[in-house]
Amino acid sequence: MTENPGNAPVRQPESGAGDLVATAEADDALPQRTDPRTFVVQALQVVPRSILPLVAVAIAMRNEGVFGPLMIFGIVVVILAINMLFTFLRWWRQTYRVGESDIRLETGVLSRAARSVPYDRIQDVSLEQGFIPRLFGLTEVKFETGAGGSDEIKLAYLSNEEGARLRELVREMRDELDTPTTLSTTHAAEEAIASREEEAAPVLFSMGPKRLFVFGLFEFSLALVAFLGAAAQQFDFLLPFDIWDVKTWQGLLAGPGEQIAHLGLLGQIIGAVAAVVSLLVVGMLSGIVRTFLRDWDFRLERTSKGFRRRRGMFTRTDVVMPVHRVQAVQIATGVVRHRFGWKSLKLVSLAQDSGDSSHVVAPFARSEELTPILKVSGFPLPPRGLEWHRTAASFRVVSALFAVVGYAALAVGAAILALHLQDQRYSWLWVAALVLAGLSAFAAIRQLFLWRLERHALSPGHIYKRTGWLAPGYKIGDRVKLQSVSISRGPLGRLFGYVTLHLGLAGGYFAMAGLPRAEAEQLREALLASMVRTDFSRLVK
């Protein structure tokens, strides 16, 4: 450590802009570009995006005779050339530098933007590999600052090794800033990384193809059907016939269709069943495909820095979630999968990144598989002997009344309309009225069950909330890692004596509705007492 002074230069990676690295001396590192192959990847990514306009051009030009293909070719070349030029300029004008206290990024072809992110504000670094970058061994590096969304710094693309190196570097730099006593040199850090990478991290949770298949069955989705329908509408000019014309279909079905029509009611029922079954099959298939693409080779490991999750078939993501940044956890399930004992576990982290399900650490697991993950995350399952409290009965009564009266009014409205119209064609209104009446009764029963089931409890270290009836879940918060506590009530709450307790949670939402006021105030006092003991600066380390 002694041969390297405090302001040790950050060692530059050999790959990439090598000539720049050679001149790097003391002080901050020199600005460098992303991997040159970025240009190729981005140019390739432009191609799929150019296909639609090209198709449009081709269709517009289809009657141009001999010159048509030539002109199309010319336009293709021009469009691609312009794209290439801009891609190249963007790559050329984007530089980043790894400084002593921050990472700086400069971008922009004409107008330049410079952004600096201090190491101690970087919550985490995540790596993402799209399909094409993966072929080239490139990765996208994202620095999560907690700002969320577009404000985050992205470096696209760096080589895999450099991405991993940068991630470790940022972590080491951050820790260095956190512990001012020793300025560990980058070399020492890198050796430590190398040794750490070699030792295999214990796998907390993983999903094989069989599990993924079962998971996919539950991820039933009709999005594909909707997409095909929309696409058919969008591109129907390419089809040889008008698919929205009933007569065409009648003509097409004239052979076998006629026979089915002659079968009468039985035939129609068989047809309907076949349609439903095919929809189910398509829905399940698309669910399975989607699940396989997203969660292929899902593995969650416990590394020295926290949870490390890798998943994805073509786009492989690699995210590390430091344990001390986990603010709360959420155990959820679905109505159907709950019957089969499947649950999911999601972490609420200080670094909010965009997109949902991004912090799912176990999307489809048994209870006993969740227990070790929960233990590592510091959010244990509720211990025995906790004092569980229900929501205020008045809150449930008011909620039930609102739902019941709302649905009942709609049902009565539908019935009155049906009576008024007195027409065979509108007899479906009776069905609607019946369904609405059923919903009305269901809402009342639901509130009754929710009153029995929704509870909350306070343990010495955590706050627990049990939610839901048909798909029960848990939300677990740390009593210390809350930001603020707020009690709110509307006019109805004022009338019937219940309030909502909102807990300020970094990166998430934690509220308990329908508590009796006195109890909410007690809860708040207890939570505040544990919050004020620790300062925020100690929470994030």
Binding site: I487, S488, G490, L503, R524, D535
Partner: protein, 177 residues
């Protein structure tokens, strides 16, 4: 409590209407500066005037008898401008204790928020033109939480707001060392 010796916000009237609202620290809630309802009234007036003008134009353009549209609207707006500011003022209060700030507000939709100083990320003291005229300021505490990430306390005198900011800053500095 700190080097200034006196807690900022002292000497303001203790709010009797809010006092019964379950104050677990035993800390009585304080009301904002007496100028605060005046500032709120000016603000309400600024909002009400264009609405009233709109109503008068609608009155002029439609064939209804006189003041069918503008009359009720004018009455409602007058109520909002004349009576509401005092009620809102009376429903608002705050309590600054050793390690936390409590902010209470709202007539129909009532909220009661507590932020420990140890969770404050940064502090703003804002002054709009109306607030400046009345010598008022708004204190804003930012936390990292997604819900209630900004806790706003309006209607403080400017000196009080600055003093409170110093108190909270001193607390954060002491705690984070």
């Amino acid at each position: 409590m700190d080097e200034q010796g006196q807690q900022p916000g002292m000497g303001k009237g203790i709010n009797p209407r809010l006092d019964g609202l379950g104050d677990a620290d035993g800390q009585p809630l304080r009301q904002g500066h007496p100028n605060y309802p005046k500032a709120m009234r000016v603000q309400a007036l600024l909002v009400a005037t264009p609405i009233l003008i709109g109503a008068l134009i609608a009155e002029y353009l439609t064939p209804f008898p006189n003041f069918v549209i503008a009359g009720p609207i004018a009455l409602i707006l007058a109520g909002l401008v004349i009576f509401l500011p005092h009620r809102r003022y009376a429903a608002r209060g705050y309590a600054l204790s050793e390690d936390r700030l409590r902010v209470v507000r709202g007539i129909m939709f009532h909220t009661d928020t507590v932020v420990p100083f140890g969770r404050v990320q940064h502090i703003d003291v804002d002054r709009g033109p109306i607030e400046r005229y009345y010598g008022l300021a708004t204190l804003q505490l930012y936390t990292a939480g997604s819900h209630g990430d900004v806790v706003t306390l309006s209607g403080l005198s400017h000196e009080d707001a600055l003093a409170m900011r110093e108190t909270i800053r001193a607390h954060i500095k002491r705690e984070s060392l």
